[in-house]
Every structure is written in C-alpha cells, then in structure tokens.
C-alpha cells in the first residue's frame, strides 16, 4: 500500500500520478494473483463438474449435486458479505485480515466459484457428438477432456474469462474497503469520504479504460481462437 500524507484539500493534479500509479499497481497485483489461482483451481474444477454431471465421462450424480451446491452458495453471497463472513478463514491462511494478502483469499474463493461455472457452461455448449467422436477415436478420458471438450470450448472459456477479469477488478475495489489498497481504496478514501472530485474522476477514468482494454483484448483472443472468425475477417 502506498504511504501518502493526506492533504486536507483536493489532491493537486501534479500529485495524482504519485497517488494513483502505486494504487493501480496494487489492483493489478491483486487481480493478477487472483486470476492465477482462479485459473489453476477453477479450470479443472469446471471440467470435473461438467463430467460428474449426468451424461459426463465420470457420471457421479451425488458428487455433482454436492459440488454444484457448494459453488452456488459461493456464487450467491454478495462479495462484501462473503469477505466479512470468512475473515477467520482468511486470518488462518494469511495471518492477517487486512492488506492485499487478506483480499486475495475471499477474491479467489468468489472467483473460483464464478470461473467454475463459466468453464462448466462452456463445456456444455460443446456438442455431445464431439465427445463420442473422441471416444470412438480411442481417446482416454483425460485426452478427451483436453483435446475434445476443453479445446473446443476455448473461445467460450476466454469469453467468460473476460467477464471474470472485469468482475475481479470490481471485487478488488470492494476489497479496497478493508484496506487492501488499490484503485478502489483510493476512490473510496479520497473520492467518497473526502469529496475529492479530482481523484474520484481520475479513478473512474482509469477503471473505465482498464475495463475497455480487458474487453478488447478478450474479444481479440476469442477471435484468434475461433478459426471461422479469424479467417473470415481478413
């Protein structure tokens, strides 16, 4: 977190970069760490969830029901409530309940639940005949999941990933209120609590631009991974 001496009046324009850049760096760090955790845990979890469902490669209806239920709970709690509710867990994991480390835990949990559903949905949109093809071609379950199910679903997963990153930026702003730092923290302490319109406006611009860039990058990646879109627009 940036150590800034807080002035009484609005932050002068010249001081804005010194205030916002470190905060932006914190947001990027938080979202970056969370996204790595989410991808590493959520991807296999989503594939598993899809395949223990009825009709999947490892049909286990009971396991599916339990997993699905847990994920639904994770998805249904507003992030602020989830964050507050798991403070003891967060403290157990990180030894603290403020700062970036503390924010990363609830963000990761909420993010994993979110991304698991995204992966599950993406896999569901792959026609079942593709899986039959892969089975008939002599593929093992692992090979089928990787090269048929997941590979075909990649554009859909990336589309979902874009939504996910944007949601995580939003969560990081909420996490900012527990002192996790980041652009959201600046927006709340300067813009909201001190009515510093300059800072408020600056954070809004930064967030809007960031989200737009993420969206454009996501759309481009979807295009690149979909042969039909990639080749027809050139």
């Amino acid at each position: 977190m940036s150590a800034v001496i807080l002035p009484r009046a609005d932050v002068p324009l010249a001081d804005l970069p010194a205030l916002l850049l470190p905060a932006y760096g914190e947001t990027v760090t938080m979202v970056g760490i969370v996204m790595v955790v989410v991808l590493v845990v959520g991807t296999p979890l989503g594939v598993l969830l899809h395949n223990v469902a009825p009709g999947g490669l490892y049909e286990r209806p009971a396991l599916h029901a339990v997993l699905s239920w847990i994920i639904s709970i994770g998805r249904s709690l507003p992030f602020l409530i989830l964050m507050a509710a798991i403070v003891p867990f967060t403290r157990f994991i990180t030894g603290t309940n403020i700062g970036i480390a503390a924010a990363v835990v609830p963000m990761s949990l909420a993010g994993i639940a979110f991304f698991t559903r995204i992966v599950e949905n993406a896999l569901r949109s792959v026609p079942p005949s593709i899986v039959q093809v892969a089975r008939a071609a002599g593929g093992s379950n692992l090979q089928i999941m990787r090269s048929a199910q997941f590979s075909e679903a990649i554009p859909a997963v990336i589309g979902g990933l874009t939504i996910q990153v944007i949601a995580m930026i939003e969560y990081s702003a909420i996490a900012g209120t527990i002192g996790a730092g980041g652009i959201g923290y600046v927006a709340v302490t300067y813009g909201y609590q001190r009515f510093d319109n300059t800072v408020m406006l600056a954070t809004i611009v930064i967030l809007v631009v960031t989200v737009a860039v993420v969206q454009i990058a996501g759309d481009r990646l979807v295009r690149l991974t979909t042969p039909q879109k990639r080749l027809q627009h050139t």
Binding site: A134, Q143, S151, I154, P155, T225, P227, Q228, L231
Partner: protein, 362 residues
C-alpha cells in the same frame, strides 16, 4: 466379421426402463457392407454404439473379429475401438482443427510420432480425394468434404470394421453417391467390414451387399440386396424399390404394381405380357436399374382385363410378380413407416418390451 448374439440394451431402470434392443441377433461377414434400415427410434444408432461399445450392452454378446468385447474393461475396450472406425453424421469435426488435424486425432491419442502421423494423414487425405484441403477448417469444407474427412479419420488406425451412422444424411444426391462410392472403393481395397446405417433407401441400393431391417429392437427382416429386390413378397424388398408417382390409369384398365421377382426377367417383358394377355398393357410408371449385375425394379401398369389370375400368371412367366393397386396414384415412395410395418406381419410378438426383460434374460 461382426457377430451380435442376443444383444439387449435397456436404458433407465425400474418403471421408466426402455428396452431399445431386444435379444437381437445379427451377423456381418468380413468384407461385406451391411445396410441397417428402420424407422426413427428403432434403435439403429444404439446398435452402432453397442458394436463399438460406446454404450455397454445390458446383456448379450458382441464379437468383433473373434474378440468378445462386451466384457472388456475400459482400457482394453479403448484398444478394441481402435480396430473399429466410426463415421458420424456430419458436423462431428472439431471446429478448431484443420482437416489434417482432425484426421490426426486418433493417431495423437495412440501416441504416434508427429512425423509418422503427418505421413499417414497425407496418405489418408489423398485416399479420400482431399489432398488440397489439408489446411482447411471445417467451416471451409462442404458437407461432402467434411464427411470425407470423417471417413479418413475413421480409417486413420487401419481398422478392419467401419461403422457409418447416417453418414450421408443431409447430403445432396450427387454428394451422397460420391461418398457411397468412396466407401465401396475402400471396402474393396481394404477388405473392410461395413455397417451402414441409413434411412434412405436410394442410398441402400447404392451401397449395400445385404440389408437388415430393424424395428422395435429386433432385426425383423434381412437378406442380400438382390434377393430382397427380386422378391415381391418381401416388405423390405418392396420398400427398397424406388417408387415415385405414376401416371393415372385410363378408363377400363386396372392398375398393377409389379416388381422384378427373379434375376432373369427378360428385357422385352412388356411385349411378352401384352402378347400373352392379348390386351393392352399401359406403362404408367417404372424404375429399373442394375444392382450387382442383376436387373431389378418395379413398374406400375394399366392392364385392360379384370382377370387377376391370368394377369398374375402372365407376369409370373416373365419372372415378375404383381398386385392390383386400386388406390390413388402413389405419391412419393412410401417410407418404412409404422403403418407399413403393421401390415407386414413381421412384428408379431416383437412389441417393445418394457420392464422385466432384464430378469427374463438373465
């Protein structure tokens, strides 16, 4: 060689169980193309999935090239499946892979080195006539080309068995003919045993050596294509005849539907029958073709006499068999619908079995 013995497949259990295949016996000798036809929901796809064990049979045995597959554990099954190529209905290519990469899929799964795989894929692309389409993605291929890629993929591991489930459905007649031609060519070259599932009778006449009709979970009729086409008694044979609309009869004539009932029908049979009966024989509609070197076909005639017995005898002397057809001129060829099936009498006792079959068989 494929041998199915007392094959039963039941989906679900308890009150909602449905027996789709009911103690079915079926055999396809090596190197033969067996067409399987039947109404929608008869269990044709289920039959195919039981042969490559994508679905485990509830009971009964599946023997492919002497190996009993139904009891094998999953890992051994995967090996067995590699000796069975499966061609699926269109649109079953991986959309993010090129034609060549799609064909390479089974080779990849097997763990073939990239160099070997590349050589084999090139050979296969050549074989199905798509050497210039290697780098095309599925959306850049026509339906017929996509189906050829599917066939090449099915052949990647040099299987001895080829299963084709509705492989030509949705293709136009010319494309169907070329795909069917390819399958016959491959059978001749590679001595493949082929199970060809379709509901298109025109395709059956082009591709099949033998034809089996599946209904309510059993093979209710089967025979060689020529046998069936030259047997007026056979319901399956009659449904195989191309039968389009025909001209209306003239006043004072009676309409007959006649089929070639033997392999030695003389080419000038109309003159012969006319001379025999001493009355006018009008040709209202006909379709005659050579199948495996034998003339087969059917005709709709207007005959100026009421003496059905004499007409039948005259037809029989030419190797034909006919029945008076007093209905309105036929529309498009009647399909193997259920109305047809009921009159056939093949179904006696073959009603769909629901619950309880499991115990009966065990």
């Amino acid at each position: 060689m494929i041998t199915l013995r007392q094959l039963t497949k039941t989906y679900g259990r308890g009150g909602t169980a449905v027996t789709v295949l009911d103690r079915l016996d079926f055999e396809v000798p090596t190197g033969r193309i067996a067409a399987v036809v039947g109404p929608s929901g008869a269990g044709k796809s289920t039959l195919a999935q039981c042969i490559n064990l994508l679905e485990r049979p509830t009971s009964g045995s599946v023997v492919v090239n002497g190996e009993e597959l139904s009891g094998l554990p999953e890992k051994r099954l995967r090996e067995a499946r590699r000796r069975i190529g499966t061609v699926f209905q269109s649109s079953s290519l991986l959309s993010r892979r090129t034609a060549a990469e799609n064909i390479a899929l089974p080779l990849e799964y097997l763990g073939v080195t990239p160099n070997e795989a590349r050589a084999r894929v090139a050979e296969l692309l050549d074989r199905v006539g798509l050497a210039d389409k290697a780098g095309h993605y599925p959306f850049q291929l026509s339906g017929g080309q996509a189906q050829r890629v599917g066939i090449a993929r099915a052949l990647a591991l040099r299987p001895s068995i080829l299963l084709a489930d509705e492989a030509t459905s949705g293709l136009d007649p010319d494309t169907t003919r070329s795909v069917v031609g390819l399958i016959r060519q491959l059978r001749d070259d590679l001595d493949l045993t082929v199970v060809f599932i379709t509901h298109e009778m025109d395709t059956v006449r082009q591709v099949a050596d033998t034809v089996a009709r599946l209904d309510h979970g059993r093979i209710v009729e089967q025979g060689t294509l020529v046998e069936l086409l030259t047997s007026h008694e056979s319901q399956l044979g009659r449904s195989l005849q191309p039968r389009r609309g025909h001209a209306g009869p003239e006043a004072g004539t009676r309409t007959w539907f006649v089929t070639y009932d033997s392999t030695v029908v003389p080419g000038d049979w109309i003159q012969r029958v006319t001379a025999d009966l001493g009355t006018a024989v009008h040709l209202l509609g006909a379709s005659v073709e050579t199948v495996h070197g034998v003339n087969t076909g059917s005709a709709t005639l207007g005959i100026g006499t009421d003496d059905d017995a004499r007409v039948a005898a005259a037809l029989a002397r030419c190797g034909l068999s006919g029945t008076p057809d007093d209905g309105p001129p036929l529309g498009p060829r009647a399909s193997l619908g259920s109305a047809d099936a009921v009159s056939g009498g093949f179904l006696a006792g073959a009603g769909r079995v629901r619950t309880g079959t499991l115990e009966d068989v065990a």
